[in-house]
Symmetry: C2
Subunit: 704 residues, 2 copies
């Protein structure tokens, strides 16, 4: 009976976040951690619930399960200024505060249901990182060595850097996931992606990627259709000039429109998700890997490592930049030699076609493929190393710099050969075949290694672990450990998911799209049906990536995001490049020179240059003119802010008046009291109107 | 004795803002206005002090002097969120609030001294425009007709639109002005402009113009020096190619650096002046001329005219744009015919040089000058009309659209002839002479009509008025009006300054700079010493404009601004254009073709195009990389915001905890109470660490 009422009067323990401890930690150390996480805020703790799991064999602490009780979730949400729909104001987003709780929770609803699991996990993740060392605990001993905290430093961050934590991750929700992947990865092509639910499960950072992927795919449809008609035109009338030109221009405008519309769409989404105009700069914690002499954060005043910007910039300027440039040239060199030998061999073959040479012809490309792939991985290593050395404080800026390094390389690596073929050899047929080859290989074939192989591996792992766990369970029961079944499930799930590969962010996925975008539009006037390949691929890609996230990867922590970040710029630059390349392609195409046979070479180039400048200018114009925030969203936001401010201001105004009256009463403004003198107003000298007596009264009363 | 104490217990009446009434208003109407302005806030009044001045002859109301008592100023300042230096936090800027008054006023200081006269004037101006019609006063009769207000509409705005107010202006402070102009317009060239005091007197909108002018002038020095050395180089070695190219590239980088540094400087200033990141969008009142069906402001919900954006855009797209384009082509046509005839005549003259033709040669340019100047004024009229029709709600967007129309015209009008000469005739000597001519005429000669003539006129006016006033005074005394001398002075000053020309904004001044910038840098590689002319001119310009503002114009109301607005973009575009023009100039210069005699025309152009693209790309790169907000400013701002937020949040967090506890006490979250169960945490099953009893207690206490 007692227990009954007891159990009913408490909310069930729900694992929001799991810490896998390294074997380097000893019991004392872990228990200190637990104690810190559990102890109340008032004592500088995180006031969260912890359950520890020990390894059955070594009996060492293996996992810490962390759960935030609802009341804590509410407080953290308030602290993080989460936006939530206001029930009393037809679901308009408002900053959540406990005071206004009733506005957000429907009648008879339960406050805990206000947050998705993803949000809960993110909040707990934030909260444990906010644990800061107190002055009586600067030195902590673990198995092999001791760890020195400086007062106020983030404990978890430091421990992570010391590799006392293997990983921090959160758990999948099997039921939710099943439903989600059913509606998402199911093969009906007509359906829209359930973006809101993707966001609810994986957070904005990922849902925005899929939003972009979906949007891009849709926008490929018109391009494909036009591309096809173009293709046939070229086929029959051997590429009429006008149509090619028209098509090129269409592509330019299409690309511009594409991005402007995307920005608007993206802003609308982020507004709906309450992350528009939220820069989590000051919420974003410094990266665990961020090194530096211990100092104060200039903004928050919290102790944390500081590192001089100058030093970083020097490194970027004098090391990163040159090394990257060098590598890029190296790539070009490798490519050059390949193309050179390739050409020479083919010529050879034409002179005396021996069997030997026939096969020899393929040697260079084979060698090249191997070389470039080796070099790619080497370069990736170098780039990462350089960026690590740059020692960025925030994940975002770290990613930004890494992305750009890799981007440049991949751009050169994927496109320089095409540029060479298009503008040096000016062999448009070879260009087409290359484009087709690259599109197909880079795309459809990627899917399998990307998803199926790891899936098989993961499945096997799961099966293996499940068996192990069964044995463990036997041991535990043998030892007579009685476990509450609810937690037992969580414990096993955590053990299994700790083995899953970590989701390493959206970089590779975006890169794939970026290159594909290049293949489609840099040379669209030469190879209009590229868009079709892209379209087909993306339809598969969406499901592939979704599948990966749902069935293979560990569940990533939600990361707020309101744009595709550095990729925006990357894609836009590609768009501008496309203008130039397409015009150049048209220029080098034979029909032009036949058509303008009367014009001199110089004049012709001039003409193309002028056109190019005009197009680019038009493109820029469009970008500037089209507002990136849809009008209704802009108004809605302005309104929210205005209402908020007004409320504050009007309350303030009332207080201020009292304040002032009090001050005047207290004659604090001595000699020159502040009042309007009605008598003066009425003085005949200036014949101003005497304010009505009743006015006088109120007026004077309101002052003294 | 009594009066003594009385007078000492009231602050003197200070005119912050003067309304000149039209003769259309009758007494009742004016007295109603006065009553509205004086009546307390609680009754929807402005709670300001008013003194009226009647015309001596007609005895009609002529002027209303409006004064805000200090306590009102404080309240308005709080409402407008003015930023003020916080004495207790080494003068860091904070949002002013009455509650924290003591932080802003030094010990024993007087709150009224917190604001400059300009700020006071601006606040009063804002406050009277915030007077809104109540439901019992929708119809008001004046002399000839009646005026219908819709409830909640801004009264003054409506009255202005009905032309019942001639003008609203504020007064000069003779003493302050004398000191200011002494340090400002005094001819010592070394001295820096007293920007802070200019801002204090005229507001940011104007001080930022002078900041820009000064900055630009400084930056011209290096350009001049290099230009000179360049000039001599060209003189001796007949323009060595390398030096020219180097110089062109220097100019490109200089221009980029120029703007990036300006943005940083400008942001630093606006931060210092507390206007950075302040978009006064929602504070900015709709223009009096803004028409539309009566509706609600979607953001504030205040009744005001509304006008569909679509309708505006349609007008812009289908009327403004085509008309402007037409005019631009017309300008080109006029120019074309002029140049054509000019050329033909000179050829004629060379064939048979008669006296007649010798003078005839000058006819076209004379005719052209006349035509183009007529057309300019016509166009200005058209542009204004078009923009009025566009019916913009805010002054800023109105100006934006007007500026662009005029900008394009002036650009075409000033530069097309130069382009023609440079790239069609390819006559660089003619280009130089034209540049020199235009620079000198447009510049130094402008000064006199701009300043001296109006100054003379104004001086005369003042003298005339002073005499009149003396007569009026006699009449008044004859009538036995006894005036308090303090106000008498104000009254006369107002009467005089009401006759001064109104300051019509910074457009013409910026335009002058913009064109000058073009002359200097579009063709710098052909005419390097242009910078010198500009430098000389600007040194004079600064003083000229200053003089104008101090001695000729009515004192404008302070307008907050944190950048040079649309001009920023205009100048930057010019910068990019300069890259192309300069390279083109080098291309058309003979030495190039001698130098690269081996290369074909096509190849040569190609080379130049590639270089151009690289330069522009580099320029863009610089613009992106260099942060526009100086680091320290960024940090300072982030800190201010963070501190503010933190204070709020921490207070909130405390309340929230109590709130929650209360709710739980009240069992409002029924069945599923929110608490961590320590017993569970301690349960052996999962071997988690039992929290220390004292923890338990606090933990539980903190919940129930």
């Amino acid at each position: 009976m007692e227990t009954q009422s007891e159990s009913s009067s408490q909310e069930p323990f729900e694992t929001h976040c799991v810490i896998e401890l390294s074997t380097k930690c000893n019991a004392d150390f872990v228990e200190w951690m637990i104690q810190r996480i559990q102890s109340p805020k008032s004592q500088g703790g995180a006031e969260l619930l912890v359950r520890s799991v020990r390894d059955v064999n070594t009996n060492q602490y293996a996992f810490l399960h962390i759960c935030a009780p609802t009341y804590r979730l509410l407080m953290i949400a308030e602290w993080l200024e989460l936006m939530k729909p206001d029930m009393q104001d037809n679901e308009a987003l408002r900053e959540f505060t406990v005071k206004t709780l009733s506005r957000f929770v429907p009648e008879g609803g339960y406050p805990g249901d206000l947050f998705d699991y993803a949000e809960k996990a993110r909040m707990v993740y934030f909260e444990i990182h906010e644990l800061r060392a107190k002055d009586d605990e600067t030195d902590r001993f673990y198995k092999t060595d001791k760890i020195r905290f400086s007062v106020g430093q983030s404990i978890i961050t430091k421990i992570q850097r010391k590799d006392l934590i293997n990983q921090i991750f959160s758990l999948h929700e099997k039921e939710v996931l099943k439903l989600l992947s059913k509606d998402w990865i199911s093969l009906s092509f007509s359906k829209k992606q359930p973006l809101d639910r993707i966001r609810a499960y994986f957070g904005e950072h990922i849902s925005i990627y899929f939003a972009f992927l979906g949007y891009y795919t849709e926008m490929l449809v018109p391009a494909t259709i036009l591309g096809f008609s173009m293709f046939f035109l070229q086929w029959f009338s051997a590429g009429s000039l006008q149509s090619t030109a028209a098509f090129a221009i269409f592509n330019v405008l299409w690309a511009t429109f594409f991005f402007e519309r995307w920005k608007r769409y993206c802003n609308r989404l982020s507004y709906k998700w309450g992350v528009l105009n939220k820069t989590n700069q000051e919420l974003e914690l410094p990266r665990a890997q961020f090194k530096g002499s211990m100092g104060k954060n200039p903004v928050t005043g919290q102790p944390e490592p500081v590192y001089s910007v100058v030093q970083r910039n020097i490194w970027i300027g004098l090391v990163s930049a040159p090394v990257v440039t060098l590598c890029l040239f190296l790539t070009l060199y490798i490519l050059g030699t390949y193309l050179h030998t390739q050409l020479r061999l083919s010529e050879e073959y034409l002179k005396n076609p021996t069997i030997m040479l026939f096969f020899g012809k393929f040697a260079p490309s084979a060698v090249y493929t191997i070389c470039i792939n080796i070099f790619r991985s080497v370069y990736k290593y170098i780039a990462t190393w350089l960026t690590d050395k740059e020692n960025h404080r925030l994940q975002t800026s770290y990613e930004f710099h890494l992305i750009w390094k890799l981007l440049l390389f991949n751009f050169i690596n994927s496109f320089s050969s095409l540029f060479y073929i298009a503008f040096w050899l000016q062999d448009l047929d070879l260009l087409r075949s290359h484009l087709a080859a690259q599109l197909i290989t880079n795309q459809i074939l990627d899917q399998f290694p990307e998803t199926l192989m790891p899936y098989a591996k993961v499945q096997y792992e799961k099966w293996r672990l499940k068996r192990e766990l069964r044995n463990e369970q036997k041991k535990r029961t043998a030892r007579g450990e009685n476990v509450d079944p609810n937690f037992e499930a969580l414990r096993d799930q955590a053990t299994i998911e700790s083995e899953l590969p970590e989701y390493l962010g959206t970089f590779d996925d975006y890169l794939e799209l970026f290159l594909q975008f290049g293949y489609c539009f840099l040379f669209s006037s030469a190879f209009p049906i590229a868009a079709l390949f892209a379209l087909i691929n993306n339809v598969i890609e969406i499901r592939g990536d979704g599948f990966k996230l749902c069935n293979i990867m560990q569940r990533p922590f939600a990361r707020p995001a309101n744009s595709i970040g550095p990729w925006q710029l990357a894609f836009e630059l590609m768009g501008f490049a496309a203008v130039t390349t397409n015009l150049a392609l048209i220029y080098v195409s034979p029909p032009v020179h036949e058509y303008f046979s009367h014009a001199s070479d110089g004049q012709l180039i001039m003409a193309f240059v002028v056109i190019e400048h005009l197009l680019i200018f038009a493109k820029l114009g469009m970008t500037v003119i089209i507002p990136t925030v849809p009008r209704d969203v802009a108004i809605a936001m302005a309104k929210t802010e205005y209402d908020m401010k007004l409320a504050v201001k009007e309350r303030r105004a009332q207080e201020s008046r009292k304040e002032i009256e009090a001050q005047i009463q207290a004659k604090r403004w001595s000699r020159r009291a502040v009042r309007g003198d009605p008598r003066q107003g009425a003085s005949p000298s200036t014949r101003s109107l005497p304010t009505s007596p009743q006015d006088d009264v109120t007026f004077v009363r309101s002052i003294n």
